[in-house]
Symmetry: C2
Subunit: 199 residues, 2 copies
Amino acid sequence: MNIAPMPPGRPKAFDSTEALRAALQVFWAKGFAATSIGDLTDATGLGRQSLYNEFGDKQKLFAAAIQNYRQCETATMASILRKEASTAERIREFFRVALDAHFDGHRRGCFLTSSIAIRSEIEPELAQLMDEAVNDLRRAFVKCIQDGIDSGEVSANMDPEALGMLFFTQAQGISVVGKCQRDRATLDRSIEALLATLK
Amino acid sequence: MNIAPMPPGRPKAFDSTEALRAALQVFWAKGFAATSIGDLTDATGLGRQSLYNEFGDKQKLFAAAIQNYRQCETATMASILRKEASTAERIREFFRVALDAHFDGHRRGCFLTSSIAIRSEIEPELAQLMDEAVNDLRRAFVKCIQDGIDSGEVSANMDPEALGMLFFTQAQGISVVGKCQRDRATLDRSIEALLATLK
DNA sequence: TCTATTTTTTACCAAACAGTCAAAAATACT
DNA sequence: AGTATTTTTGACTGTTTGGTAAAAAATAGA
C-alpha cells in the first residue's frame, strides 16, 4: 500500500475531521439555527474561506456533523447492545453508560435527539439523514431483544419490534428529561423498572 | 361584579391571548432561534410596535408562550391522569390521546419537549420555567401510580417515583420519536408493553 | 369641539448574518 | 529560480436581525 503522494499547492493547516468534531460540538451545544458561521470559525480555528472550501455551506457542515456523530457516538452506543452478555445486561449497560456520560459530563443529551426535536429549523433533506442515523439505534435495540428471544432469555410471546421501540423511545426520552432532572437515582430506578418488562 | 370601565386612549385592535396563541404556534413550529420578529407579526397580525408594547421582547413573549402552553395543553394532558378510572386505564388513555393528536394533526411533538431539547439556545432563566412546566406532568404520573398503589391495583412494592419517572420519560421520548417514526402501530404496542410494568 | 391618553403605523438604526471575491502565501514539480 | 496549484487572509456585499423613535390615528371625558 502506497502512501498518498503529496498534492501540489499550499498544504492545509488543519485536520479535516478534527475541525468537523469541533463544529459538531458547537452545533451540539447551541443548535443549528443559533449557531453562526463566526461560532464555527472560532471553534474550529479555520478561516472563513477555509471552512467554506472544506465543508460547503452551513447546512452541509451540519450534515457532515450528523454523519460523524452517527459513526462515532451512535455506533459506540449501539455496539453495547451487541456485546457478549444477556439482553437485560446489555440494555442495563447501555443506560448506565448513557447516564454516566450525561451526568458526569456535558449534560447536553443526544445530538440526534436534539436535532430531531428542532428538525423544522432545518431543511427536509436533513431530516432523512437524522432519521436514518437514529434508526441505527432503534434497530440495535430490536436486534438485542430478538437475541434474547432466540436464546430463550426472553419469552417468545414478546414482540421484539414493540419492545425495541419501547427501549429506544426511553433512550430518547432520557436524553431530554436528563436536562431538567438532576436526580439520577430516580432515573436509575426507572430503568430497572423498565427492564422488568423482559420477564 | 362591575364590568371593567373602558380605559382612555385608543382601544387595542387585537385580543391579547389570541395573539399569544398565534405566537405560540410559530415558536412551536420553528423553535425559538429560528423564529424572527417578522414571523411573529405575520402570525399574530399585530404591528411590530404593538407586539413589543404587549409582550416586551422576543424572550418575554416566548416565556409567555410557555406559560400558556403549560396552562392549556400540559394541564389538559395531566388531567387525563386524574380521571375516574384505573391507573392503567388512565395511562393508556393518556398515550392514546397524545398519539392521536400527534398522528392526526401537527406531528410537532410537545412544545415543552422541543424547547427543553434546545434550551441552550435560550437564557437560563427560561430553563427554570420549562422545568417547572414539564414537572407538572411528571408529578401527575407519580400521583397516578400512587393512586394505583392506594387502591390496591398496583403492588405496594412498587416505587411510585421511579414508575412515574418511567412513564413521564416515555412520554417525552414519544414526542421526539413520533417525528421520525411514522409507524404508529408499533408505538401503540410498545405502550402496551410498558403498561405491563404495573402488574 | 377640545384635551389627555393610548395604540397603530411607518420609518429607521446599528449589529449580526451567510456567503463571496481577490490578493497573498505556501507548497511541489520542473 | 520559476511556474502551477492550492490554501489562507482580510476585506467586502447585500440581507436580515432585534429593537426603537416619532408621528398619526382613535378613543373617553370634559
